[in-house]
Symmetry: C2
Subunit: 412 residues, 2 copies
């Protein structure tokens, strides 16, 4: 007998019919002799409806009350799902975040889970119940309702799996697994049978929207085997797991891309200590996250500083920088929102050289200019002109032979 956590998103519980379908899938797992916990989001559209109401009554964001309102969405879906399961003949019981105590910090709208109580759920599981738990929500130490941020139900599911030492956490989504790259762009993209936590973390933080980054961090921390699979069609999905020896034979597991960044260059910055700190200090004060940073070698006592920021913060960043620019007597500022970041990811890079070179050559062969480069142990990212994004992904997919079986790849 295994303990399985299943997670279904808003689309999967978006109607009475679909809720019944989720109930069937939970019951099917239960009939195999397994203990089953199901975590669900709000019915699709519901969170947006509630958010719109909050915008209607209030002139500004009120985070504590916002969490009270939006967490009502999951409350409805867990009750309905439990009813559906029970109507089909299997005992079921629903719990809200505060009832099974998803204890979080008090950062309303983006709280982080500190602890999950398992006792009450385990008791129900042992009594033969399917336990249905609201995703996305928790309770702080003062007894206030908190929510975990968009996509937080993934994290709820993984946290439950960790707390109850589940044998597997199945995340049902609208895709049937994690792909070598976005299959809507590269038709040859193939589904990965498995991927390491670290690779998935890079994928998530570099633009893949399959899983919330924090859910992957949590899965890694507690070694929770997570499977990403489709709620609509049968299939083995993709298993997130610790690195295996086998994985190290693969130089590159997948490609990610992100069009939601903008590039800013400050030219003619006097090359004296403390200048760069002034610039980035101003951005930090304005809560603008800086991603890649590149500083040219100094020439004639001057240097250029280039960095990327989220597109949504681009205008604010340009405004915020006027002051410090004058202060440090920089010559000019240039912004470019039409960039894309394309990344190759793979734990195998650690023991293989040549990934970066292969990547640069493939892009150069197509005349795609590389504007910035950033590397880590398991990824190489390049910033290019946004209009080449799709072309770059297709070229790199071929260059790393990602459409071939691992054994058939010849370049490494």
């Amino acid at each position: 007998m295994a303990l399985i956590v299943q997670k279904f998103g808003g689309t999967s519980v978006g109607s009475v019919e679909r809720i019944k379908n989720v109930a069937s899938q939970a019951i099917a797992e239960h009939k195999k002799g397994n203990q089953v916990i199901v975590t669900v989001s709000a019915m699709s559209g519901e969170t947006n409806r509630l958010v719109a109401l909050t915008e209607g009554v209030a002139g500004y964001m009120q985070k504590r009350e916002y969490d009270v309102v939006v967490s009502a969405g999951e409350q409805v879906s867990i009750g309905l799902l439990s009813m559906a399961i029970k109507s089909m003949g299997t005992p079921a019981k629903s719990y809200l975040g505060w009832q099974v105590r998803f204890l979080t910090d008090s950062s309303f709208t983006k709280a982080r889970i500190r602890n999950v109580e398992s006792e009450r759920i385990q008791k129900d599981l042992d009594a033969g119940h399917i336990v249905v738990v609201a995703g996305f929500q928790g309770i702080d130490s003062e007894g206030n309702i908190t929510t975990l941020g968009r996509g937080g139900s993934d994290t709820s599911a993984v946290a439950l799996a960790a707390a109850l030492k589940a044998d597997r956490c199945d995340i049902f989504t609208d895709v049937d697994g994690v792909y070598t790259t976005d299959p809507r762009i590269v038709s040859k993209a193939t589904r990965l049978e498995q991927i390491s936590y670290d690779e998935m973390l890079e994928m998530a933080s570099l633009g893949s929207k399959v899983l919330q980054t924090r859910s992957v961090e949590l899965a890694k921390k507690y070694s929770v085997p997570v499977r990403v699979l489709s709620s609509m069609e049968e299939g083995g999905g993709t298993l997130l797991t610790k690195e295996s020896k086998e994985m190290e034979h693969v130089m590159v597991s997948g490609l990610a891309h992100n069009k939601d960044e903008a590039k800013i260059t400050i030219q003619g910055v006097p090359d004296t200590p403390g200048i760069v700190a002034t610039i980035f200090g101003a951005l930090a004060d304005a809560n603008v996250n800086v991603d890649m940073i590149l500083q040219n070698v100094s020439a004639r006592g001057e240097t250029d500083v280039t960095f990327t920021v989220p597109s949504s913060d681009y205008k604010e960043a340009m405004d915020v920088l006027i002051g410090p620019m004058n202060q440090v007597k920089a010559k000019s500022i240039k912004g470019n929102p039409d960039i894309a970041k394309v990344s190759a990811i793979g734990v195998g890079m650690r023991s293989h050289s040549g990934v970066a070179q292969r990547m640069f050559k493939a892009l150069a062969d197509e005349g795609i200019n590389i504007q910035m480069i950033s590397t880590s142990e398991i990824k190489v990212s390049v910033v290019i002109d946004q209009k080449y994004t799709e072309l770059a992904l297709r070229v790199l997919h071929d260059a790393f032979e990602l459409d071939k079986d691992i054994g058939d790849r010849v370049y490494s």
Copy 2:
């Protein structure tokens, strides 16, 4: 400085505009220097929408999960109202039933309040907050969500007022107070300045839908001054209070009517001990509430038993009675769903005779036949043919001179 509990129903918070209007009313009371607690129901239509969803997914009623789903409605309205109040510049904080611990029994869908914690609310009030509390819901000793039944928000408000020793509990409704009788039927009906708890209890249980009966019981038990008033227009409303000396001068305070009962007569019942117990035992087993009971004097060792049941239970009652009827060898059973109960209510009856006679004469003068009579210390109820309901109310309103000022009534 007084402590005021305000309660607004679903219509009053039915849209973003109306929520802002409620916020203004709460703030107006707060600006007078009072501490203010606001209890609200779900936005109108919301509870019905949620109930429809539960009916869609489940083949039968599942009370625990039903309460989880429907209580989400108030969760949305308290969050929105708090936001609206805060947006208008007054600090506000919302609480769900479980957060301020409306401890109830575990009778899902119709739970009864056992205790309300006041500490947390009092702290917020003392800090200058308007505190917004979800009506209709509580938590049982196991930590499950419970609801108090339709209209339960009235009871929530009165329970809060009792627990916090409020100076007044203002129930805002779509009528501007309690009337001598239904003003849609009797145009001369007048608003009562005040009414005693006992009279209001009779009014509520005899068909007046202004307040949930349990809220009045609770108000009486803890001597909470309750005011019923309109959420749409200014006005003093009606004050529920302990009996005053003045009230005893009034024979009849108001008239109530109820068309939701049916009459059943079992004829030719052998007049031996235990027979009636058999009949009513069968109804009790089927959870059919019996209201008025009338047993004729025995003749030839036989008797007739007549009683009333709620219209909704009428068919079931007739079915259930077949068995015991044969068992006790009764001769026949006759049912009549087309009846109405009309009641005159007043604490003054205790010290005045002649109310019943005046009532019977007024009805007889119009040729309205009385089918059953039941009396208590403060009410006289008669069952009549349903088609005469409105006529009876108008005739009795005149007979007791309810349109006149108390001092001007000459009949007593």
